[in-house]
């Protein structure tokens, strides 16, 4: 993507996000029981949707890395895996924080250890440990270990998704793909879909930037290693 295409994409994403904000705060009707605080829903669900897509991307890239780890496409997959995990953690953190800000006025508590919240917190911990493993380990095996962790870690995503269907929870029952009688006002659906689309476009754009940064870092580390090797050879002579 060249500079002009990037600028154009950034402008389109900014317009989409502004439209999403307008839909969520001005257009969507006020929920009868909770009032305006329910408008957190549009950012809460959109954040988690992007987080799940990022964790899925991380899984796919990790599998590709494990299959092709000694090739240049393996390095590219590794860069994509770490970038997607980082963005997934950012969106998951926002989703959790928004959930807490929503819970306090509605439930009277910031947090409860119900299956949906606990499984989401475990998911967040798994990917934070993935990033810490990548950041703190000096071992050359760190990307391989992290890729294996990513594959096991993703198993928590379907548990998070299904938790409100499998167990009785404090967290509300599903309003999308839920049981008969559940559902949203059509204007609320529009606001939700616009925000999910806007967050997804924003997430993909930032993922692309983060991926470019990781590739630049990989190239820099390769150049630094080659440079050190040349210096060592020159000293040996």
């Amino acid at each position: 993507m060249n500079r002009a295409a990037f600028t154009f994409s950034a402008i389109v994403v900014a317009i989409l996000l502004s439209y999403g904000l307008h839909q969520a705060l001005d257009v969507a009707p006020t929920e009868a029981t909770m009032g305006n605080i329910q408008r957190i829903f549009y950012y809460h669900v959109a954040s988690f949707t992007v987080a799940f897509v990022m964790f899925g991307t991380n899984l796919l890239a990790s599998v590709i890395y494990l299959v092709q780890r000694n090739t240049s496409s393996g390095a590219a997959a590794d860069a994509m895996a770490v970038s997607a995990a980082e963005l997934g953690v950012i969106f998951c953190s926002i989703g959790l924080l928004l959930g807490m800000l929503w819970a306090k006025p509605v439930w009277g508590i910031w947090w409860t250890w119900d299956p949906r919240l606990t499984s989401t917190f475990v998911l967040w911990l798994i990917y934070v440990s993935y990033l810490m493993l990548r950041r703190l380990s000096d071992s050359g095996q760190a990307p391989t270990l992290a890729a294996a962790l990513a594959i096991f870690g993703f198993a928590d995503v379907p548990i998070v998704y299904m938790s409100i269907r499998w167990w009785r929870t404090q967290h509300p029952q599903p309003v999308i793909f839920g049981e008969k009688g559940s559902g949203l006002d059509p204007a609320m659906v529009t606001a939700l879909l616009v925000n999910i689309a806007a967050f997804m476009c924003y997430g993909i754009l930032v993922l692309w930037v983060r991926y470019k940064l990781e590739r630049a870092r990989q190239q820099l580390h390769e150049a630094q290693a080659l440079h050190s090797l040349e210096l060592a050879r020159a000293e040996a002579r």
Binding site: L21, L25, T33, M34, G35, N36, I37, R39, I40, Y43, H44, S47, I90, S93, I94, L97, L98, L101, W102, K104, P105, V106, Y202, V206, V209, R210, L213, A216, R217, Q219, L220, A223, Q224, H227
Partner: protein
């Protein structure tokens, strides 16, 4: 239900979202500058 506190929470949620996202974008920009500087130092 629409108490002052719940409206404060709504505003805090939207502001917090964009503070975290903008902070992350700034971190990315700073990291790019750092990588570029290190690459230029290596060339010298």
């Amino acid at each position: 239900m629409d108490t002052v506190r719940s409206l404060q929470h709504l505003h805090a949620a939207y502001i917090l979202t964009w503070c975290v996202q903008l902070g992350y974008v700034l971190y990315l920009v700073r990291s790019f500058v750092e990588v570029k500087r290190e690459a230029e130092e290596l060339k010298k």
